[in-house]
């Protein structure tokens, strides 16, 4: 390894949270420029996929969805919608990007129709909420920029959802129910880690099939190749617990369920 590498660590308020990027490369100027570009990529995803910003592309899609109109979207949103549809099908509907209130009316991710030329149409009125995948996707976009800028190694941590490449990174997660305690997990190596829990807040996740709120005493961390996959799978494991094992195998992911008493139940690949 080159000993004269420059390593920088920066933090910007984005995606409603604090996004931290650490990167190492040949010169400080090159690393700073790459980090700036990576933050800009995250900013672009935020501008496209914000649920609350009426000017976002997602809001435009949702307005069209209300009236069943066909709308052209960016390749990024199209890509995320295709991913969500595939995971919706793969989880028999447990993973759903339709907002809870439209799920109540029977509409779901399956009603989103992806047409050629990045066109999207919704067969039933529904509101799409990309909250469960957009942050992971943004992290993936930032990682792509950092790789493209020839960084030696990098880590992007968007308020707890992260991905790294180049060198193993020590990671720990917040202890569910005990703020200020950290549970160490295995080092992260060219992979992503996302965590979901609802122990700190009253807000619950929703089960896409039963439509009921999902409340669990444990937090779920999923390790996968992309942060979007990890981010999305945490919701599935939160809903299904240990019954999610076949899915984890299918998507080549590992899961860690951390209980308030310090028990960690994990699904982790073993080297043969």
């Amino acid at each position: 390894m080159n000993c004269s590498l420059s390593k920088l660590r920066r933090c910007h308020p984005l995606l409603g949270t604090f996004v931290e990027i650490t990167a190492a490369g040949d010169t400080a100027a090159a690393v700073q420029a790459a980090i700036d570009e990576a933050f800009a990529a995250i900013g672009r995803v935020q501008a496209l996929m914000s649920f609350h910003d009426p000017a976002s592309e997602l809001s435009r899609v949702n307005r069209a969805a209300a009236s069943g109109k066909t709308v052209r979207v960016s390749p990024q949103i199209y890509h995320v919608l295709a991913f969500a549809k595939a995971l919706h099908a793969g989880t028999q509907g447990i993973f759903d990007i339709a907002a809870a209130r439209t799920q109540d009316q029977g509409a779901g991710t399956a009603d989103i129709e992806l047409l050629p030329d990045h066109a999207v149409r919704c067969l039933r009125p529904l509101t799409i909420d990309l909250g469960g995948v957009a942050k992971g996707f943004a992290v993936d976009c930032a990682i792509e920029v950092l790789r493209g800028a020839d960084m030696d190694s990098a880590l992007v941590n968007a308020g707890g959802d992260m991905r790294c490449f180049g060198r193993p990174q020590p990671v720990c997660i917040r202890h569910p129910g005990m703020p200020g305690r950290f549970v160490p997990l295995p080092d992260l190596n060219d992979a992503a880690l996302a965590t979901s829990a609802n122990s700190y807040t009253a807000c619950a996740h929703f089960h896409g099939r039963t439509r009921g709120p999902v409340r669990r005493p444990f937090s779920v961390s999923v390790r996968a190749t992309t942060c979007m996959m990890a981010d999305a799978l945490t919701k599935v494991v939160l809903a299904c617990g240990q019954r999610s094992a076949p899915l984890l195998s299918e998507f080549d992911a590992d899961a860690f369920m951390v209980y308030p008493d310090g028990r960690v139940i994990c699904w982790e690949k073993e080297e043969a």
């Binding site: 660590r9 920066r10 933090c11 910007h12 308020p13 984005l14 409603g16 949270t17 604090f18 931290e20 700073q32 880590l155 941590n157 308020g159 707890g160 959802d161 992260m162 790294c164 990174q169 020590p170 990671v171 720990c172 997660i173 917040r174 202890h175 569910p176 005990m178 703020p179 200020g180 305690r181 950290f182 549970v183 160490p184 997990l185 992260l188 880690l193 996302a194 965590t195 829990a197 700190y200 937090s219 961390s221 240990q242 094992a245 984890l248 195998s249 590992d254 310090g262 028990r263 960690v264 139940i265 994990c266 699904w267 982790e268 690949k269 073993e270 080297e271 043969a272």
Partner: protein, 181 residues
């Protein structure tokens, strides 16, 4: 490769060593570094702090909807020779429990150029207010903080809101509008 469910019992970091409290801190940028990053072309940063009266603070609150914590605003004029490049404003907002130091750079027209987090601190429990506990990691460079089993660096889990920064931007833009423009 095969996989199965396994159960471990893990002693969370910071429980045993630090007693009933824990914390985490990161210094991203020193003041001068942040200034340079916001205004790479500047050759001087002229201190221009402004202390607001109670009346003026109320005016900022009225305009932005956000209350100021302190009357004195740390700010600098970024200059290249005689040319005015913009304002560099250093500010603090409350994070989860402690203050976050951050900076807002405005162009000469008052447009937001850049936002940078300088220092981020997070602590828990009343004991953390004690100087002795703080001493264990304040002032240390990153990489040296909290050597337990390993450094607490890359933290996953519950998302922390950056709403106070967003509010801070609103407040400082009102401050600019009322007193710098």
């Amino acid at each position: 490769m095969n996989a199965r469910w396994r159960t471990y019992c893990i002693v969370p970091l910071a429980v045993m060593a630090a007693g009933p409290v824990a914390g985490w801190a990161a210094q991203y940028l020193a003041l001068e570094e942040a200034q340079k990053l916001c205004f790479p072309g500047a050759d001087a940063f002229v201190p221009s702090d402004i202390t607001l009266t109670r009346e003026q603070m109320r005016a900022v609150k009225k305009d932005s909807g956000v209350r100021a914590r302190t009357g004195t605003q740390k700010l600098w004029r970024a200059m290249r020779g005689q040319e005015f490049l913009g304002w560099f404003i250093k500010d603090e907002v409350l994070g989860k429990h402690e203050l976050i130091t951050w900076a807002l750079a405005l162009g000469p027209d008052g447009a937001v150029r850049r936002i940078e987090i300088l220092d981020y601190r997070e602590t828990y429990g009343y004991e953390v207010r004690g100087a002795q506990w703080r001493a264990q990691f304040y002032g240390k460079k990153h990489g040296a903080a909290l050597k337990l089993d390993r450094d607490i660096k890359n933290i996953g889990g519950a998302t922390l809101s950056c709403r106070h920064i967003t509010d801070g931007v609103k407040r400082l833009l009102s401050f600019y509008e009322l007193f710098l423009k």
